[in-house]
Each structure stands twice: as C-alpha cells, then as structure tokens.
Symmetry: C2
Subunit: 258 residues, 2 copies
C-alpha cells in the first residue's frame, strides 16, 4: 500500500515537472548580460497613425503609494510580432503561444551600419548574409537573426527615428524579401531589427512581414544596444508579455554571453 | 595619424561596450527553462478597487493585419514593485532603474503549501527560513527569495485567487514582517510570491512592503509555476518592462536551470 502511494505521488510530481520545465536547444554558459530593450516613456517613438504611449498617475505618496495606468498599442517600443499579426499568418501562433525554447535562442548580429550611413532606405542583401557566413560559418537552425542598422541610437529623437518625409513616406532600413527567404531556408526561430519595422520604412506592402509571419516565424522590432553584442556567441532571452490571443506584445529582451 | 585614429575608434568602441555589457554576480549554466509568468487576458484577477485588464481589437484581417490596444494598471498580473512604489521608498529606485545584475539572480524557493492548506492567512515564519537554511545552507547575498504558497494554481479562478470575504477582507498568504527583516539581513536582491501581494491579504497596513521597499529592494507578485523549481540551484531572468519613472511594471519571468 505504502509503495503504491509513493508511486502515485512520484507520477504526479513527474507530470507537474515535465509540464513546466522545457528543455532548451542548447546549454547556456554566461556571466555577462546586455539589455536589448528601449525605454518606455511618454514621448517615445511610435508608428505614424497609431497612438503614443500613455502613462497616467492615479495615486501618489500623499496616499502612501504611487500608482500608474498604462495605455499602449501592442506594437509600441521593443516588442514581438507573432505570426497571427498578419493575415498571412491567420490561424497560426498568437503571442502567448511562442514556446520558451524559441524565445531563448542564439542571436546572430549582421552589422550593416556602414551601408545605412549613406542610405536610410538600405535593405539587407543576400550578399550581406553570404558575407556573414563566410566570416562566421553558416547560420544555425533556430537562431534569432538581427540586423544591426545602428538606427537604435536615434530612438531618443522620435522625429529622426520615424523619419517621415514631406510626402509622408517613412525612411529607415529593413530586410529585403530575398534575405528573408534565405533566412527561412536557414530555419531561423525569428528575425529582429533596431527600427520600427522589419520591412524598410518605404515599403508599406510589407513583403518581409508576409514571408516571415506566413511561415509561422516571429519578429522583434525596436531593439536596442546591438553594438554591445558579438556577431555570434550570445544567447537572447525574449521576455515577451504572454497576452492571450495577442498579435504582438511588449518585451524585455536580455542577451547573455560569456 | 592613422594610429591615432585607430586609437580613438578603439576607445569609443570600448566605451560603448563597457557601458552596455553588465557583469553578473555568477556564471549561468543552464539547459532547461521554466516560465514563471501568469497569462494576461480579459478577466484575469486584479486587486479589488483597481481596473481589470482591457484589450481592444483595433484592426483585423480584413485590413490585412490584426492590432490590439492594452489598458492596464501597473500592478496587474505578474509584475515587479520598485522601491518607489511606496512612500517608504520615496526617492529610491523606479522600475527602470533596477540593474540587470539584480534582475538575473539565483532564486530560492521556500515551499509552505502544507501550512497554507489549512490557513489561507498563513504568514511566512522566521522558523520556515531557519528550516530552509538547515536543509540547504544559509541564503546567499543577492538572491530572489520566493514563497511558494501554491496559490498560483487558483489564478484561473479569480474569485478564489482574490478570496475576499463578506466583510471585504482579502485572504491569501504572505510574508511576515519578521521574515522580511531576516531576509534583509541576508542582503537579498528582492522577494517574490505567487499571490496578489507580498503582505498577507488581511493586512492592509503593508508592513512587508514598507520594510522591503524602504530598504530599496524590489518585490515580485503573482508568480506562476513555482512547483517546477528546485529549492535552490535555478537562476531567474526578470524581464520587467523598463517604464521610465514607473513604480511597478509587468514582467515576463523565466527560470533557467541545469
């Protein structure tokens, strides 16, 4: 009898444990961390036509405590797009359905700041990926591949960051459709960038969104501090808010490295 | 001349690097992860007198994409209290001022589910900490010390989770003031719990909040999945949204372990 009870307890314990602890695709060895998240504040940049971040003070120290209320669109600041964000990803994963083992992955940094310096509309070329792979080896399965355009350094200047011209056209760099297709062949977990969109600002047909979200991949926008990362060797922990049925959500993103 | 330019570039690079990469208090070795975050959704539990989480759908696939707007108080769901949340911590750190090396720390789990089973108002006793230390050694400096009350299992039943009686008194477990004072002596980074508050629900004088926030420590509330963690040996990555001047903010919290 005692043995049976022990067996039952053991089975329940095993079930609980296995339901919650996910095995990662790799082993993490790290003793340094970098914050890849932009600060959130009234006045932070936002996509034209959406609403700015709102923060109201509801109570202050005369009541003994301070309390704020946030109002925000799901796409402001450092955030993740789930496949369900676009019609191309309809029926695919919502933001709360991305598993931990795809949110804790190796991060690849492709630095194109020299190209962007002379071209706000620069698109990541297949040749940039080929060059990266010649230097560092083929991009492994399950990585987050991030374009470091240097644009994140403009975040505190919302006008420069959004960079809308007199005709209303946005100008900031992004991925090309061809580069996105190559990254799908590499079986990435997702792609990321340090601008408002994975697509270049001047292409509102969103080819990259359609390719990546249609393929059930996620995307990270408005990343920060990318110069502090090596081209390869760091691991990213994407702390995206698990909003049920959310198409996107804000994230605190941390890179870990040795 | 060329050498001088190189030196200048090198110095700038080093400055950028050292400004962003923070050394952690320990080395992380991990290949498994556990999500310690409660899901966010309309109808999720909230502190009586505050407002529920609101999620509006602003656009859907007939427009080519899906978009939501979130309205939420800074204290709903899994979140972190900064010292500035209470008058006792006035002038101390806001939520965006907690450094990464205090947000990526060893996590200590003190399991008191057997005590809570017969007492919704259970307070963590000094004896519980003494017992934990007899089993596992003294709690090290810089840990997040978390009470596993088992209460997180009620989260999907908001009425049971908030547990307000007919007189309006809340009933859920929390830390005692004496246990909080002992943990300050241990120089913890912060404390956490799987209920609405670090203080037991029936004590609205918030002694634990006053002690911990007054000592410039942070607190984590509404944690999830604590049974999946060992008493010691895991590391937590607290992905709290870096809201400038926020007194609290939502967080995605992940535990890493070997």
């Amino acid at each position: 009898m005692k043995q049976i009870i022990h067996l039952v307890f053991f089975s329940v314990f095993m079930l609980c444990g296995s339901a919650s602890a996910e095995t990662l695709q790799m082993t993490i060895h790290a003793n340094r961390a970098v914050d890849l998240t932009q600060p959130m504040y009234t006045g932070m940049p936002y996509w034209p036509g959406t609403e700015p971040f709102k923060m109201e003070r509801l109570a202050d120290y005369d009541k003994g405590y301070r309390m704020h209320k946030f109002t925000l669109w799901e796409n402001i600041g450092t955030h993740v797009d789930s496949p369900s964000h676009f019609a191309a990803g309809k029926g695919k994963r919502t933001i709360d359905q991305l598993p931990l083992d795809q949110l804790i992955v190796p991060i690849v940094i492709i630095n194109v700041q020299d190209k962007v310096e002379s071209n706000d509309d620069y698109q990541l070329a297949v040749a940039d990926i080929v060059k990266w792979e010649a230097d560092h080896g083929q991009i492994g399965k399950g990585c987050l591949v991030v374009m470091n355009t240097g644009w994140y350094k403009k975040f505190s200047d919302p006008q420069g960051y959004v960079n809308q011209d007199e005709e209303g056209v946005l100008h900031f760099p992004g991925f090309s459709a061809a580069s996105a297709k190559l990254l799908l062949q590499r079986e990435v977990a997702g792609i990321g960038i340090d601008t408002l969109s994975l697509d270049p600002g001047n292409d509102l047909s969103f080819p990259v969104h359609n390719i990546m979200l249609g393929a059930n991949k996620y995307q990270v926008e408005n990343m920060n501090n990318l110069d502090a990362l090596p081209a390869t060797g760091a691991i990213v922990v994407i702390g995206v808010l698990p909003v049920r049925n959310g198409s996107q959500a804000q994230a605190r993103i941390t890179a870990l490295m040795a």
